[in-house]
Amino acid sequence: MTTVEKLVQMALVLLGFAAVVGVIVLLAGRVKGRKGDRTVAMVFLLPTVIVLLIGLVYPAVRTIYQSFFDAAGSSFLGLGNYATIFTNSDQLVVLRNTVAWVVITPFVATAVGLLYAILVDKARLESLAKALIFLPMAISFVGASIIWKLIYEYRPEQGGVNQVGLLNQLLVMVGGTPQQWLLNEPWNNLFLIVIMIWIQAGFAMTILSAAIKAIPEDIVEAARLDGVGAIGMFRFVTVPSIRPALIVVLTTIGIATLKVFDIVRTLTGGNFGTSVVANEFYTQSLQTDNQGLGAALAVLLFLLVVPVVVYNVRQLRASEA
């Protein structure tokens, strides 16, 4: 395809879509009065419902069904694929790594975000300071992986060979031996997790900063008059006041972390004991063509997300009441 052909394709799909919307609006516009409400609602909702049924509901049901079958999708295995995930030694490493990602990332990212939000609160240049931390949110996981590759690069320690990675350079400067950060198991997982923390801290900081600013000034003032110090202020005023926001941030980052595979894929391809469920899903489904196991891994992701979301919604309900 040439550049022009691609642009024409894009223009055509946008025009086609505009035409569909035009028809919808036209149809809805002809219905007048309260009796036509149902019709208008139907016309407005129909495209969305169709798209969601075909694009989300059907595939999800299909994948759940597929997860009970073998690699080729022909013979029924029952819970066999799930048993593999929880017994196969390679898969257990995947589970271990996933747990590490999902536990470490939200807590560290939130801690950093909260600390930074408090540090720069009402400081000079606050918005600039925040933008610096927040910027990684705009960068793709792939881009972030390359950025951190430049930190983790390794060169063997020989005369006349310089380190090109920042971390090894710092290590050499204090007299250490350069390390293959992304190869040495199991610590390589931590160095991959750092990248996700780097990306998510800005999200945590933004939400928490807004929550901190919403703490009524009179509460802060009253605590201050009671002689509460900085630490006490943090423990007894700040944290309890922003608790709902903290929960939202922790769970949102947890869910995002669970589903991320780009970092692992770009930097190690899941080798050297670094695979996670989301990456293993891709490998099994699209590379080794083990559809059954791939489907089971996808369903596992689904199952892990559900309790977190339910908890989140219940906490929100509680804080609203």
Binding site: V21, S140, K259
Partner: protein, 301 residues
């Protein structure tokens, strides 16, 4: 829940005197606080800065020394950028265009569909409305991984495999639940009296939608638009699964480059810089809307 939505105001660079009482709680720790904040800011900025510097260093330099040596022996070139756009270096020109062609419809289509659906769910009374809203809300938790393979089979069956269409449809579908939820929340905040008054004047739903709601909805639409733009532009999984080699976006090309030319740091850094410059620019220019969207989505959902 309106009370938790916090107005995001930018603090003036110089703190006015009345702000001093508010700052008092931090007075004791101020110098330490500033130092700690500075350390964090440097830690968070340095990696990206290193990438930018690496991308303009000659290939030979990136192989033999770290990017920080640039400041002791500066030698800058644009060759790396020329190389990544050439066919041997990665041909990023093509995927740069593809990223745009993929992203624009993937933002516009769900935005319009969601606005219509959210309006119906927020302001039209019909039976089953709440049930439908909860169902759509619940779909937000479906991870896209669960949908990929069956979708791929559907696309193959429909003769769409590898085309832009697969990416447009997929991204639009995946975005709808969150988009509807966000826009619905914004729409519900518009006073009922406004809608009722328009209805009294004989306005139909279409007029109300375009003349009353649209102008009020612009910030919400902008927030979702930026959100979705960043999401689609930065996506790897969907593109890797569906995009044929001709329609590959930047992320896929850079990820491939990392796999096949992993040691070519000069190409990788220039390529990565090309891929992040657009979302970072969009983000910096429209930060306010983005933050507002985050707060609405985060604290309400």
């Amino acid at each position: 829940m309106t009370s938790t939505v916090v107005p995001v105001t930018t603090t003036p660079a110089v703190v006015p005197p009345e702000g001093l009482t508010g700052r008092a709680r931090n007075t004791l720790s101020r110098p330490w606080a500033s130092a700690a904040a500075l350390v964090l800011a440097v830690l968070w900025t340095l990696p990206t800065f290193g990438l930018a510097v690496s991308s303009i260093r000659p290939a030979r330099d990136t192989r033999t020394s770290g990017w920080w040596t640039f400041f002791t022996s500066p030698d800058a070139t644009l060759d790396n950028y020329r190389a990544v756009f050439s066919d041997q270096g990665g041909g990023l020109g093509n995927s740069f265009l593809n990223s745009f062609v993929i992203t624009i419809p993937s933002v516009v289509i769900p935005m319009v569909l969601a606005a219509l659906a959210a309006y119906a769910l927020a302001w039209i009374d019909f039976r089953g409305r709440n049930l439908l809203f909860v169902a759509i809300f619940a779909l937000q938790i479906v991870p896209i991984q669960v949908t990929l393979l069956p979708l791929l089979k559907l696309y193959v069956g429909a003769g769409l495999a590898g085309n832009f269409a697969t990416l447009w449809i997929s991204h639009a579908t995946f975005a709808l639940p969150l988009a509807i939820f966000l826009l619905h929340n914004f729409m519900r905040e518009i006073p009922k009296e406004l809608i009722e008054a328009a209805r009294m004047d004989g306005a139909g739903h279409v007029q109300i939608f375009f003349q009353v709601l649209m102008p009020l909805l612009t910030p919400a639409l902008a927030a979702f638009g930026i959100f979705q733009f960043l999401w689609v532009w930065n996506d790897l999984l969907v593109a890797l699964t569906f995009a044929g080699s001709e329609v590959r976006p930047l992320t896929v090309d850079i990820a491939n480059l990392a796999g096949t030319r992993g040691s070519a740091l000069h190409l990788l850094s220039a390529g990565a810089f090309v891929s992040i410059i657009v979302p970072v620019t969009v983000f910096l220019c429209l930060q306010r809307f983005f933050v507002r969207g985050l707060l609405a989505g985060g604290l309400k959902g």
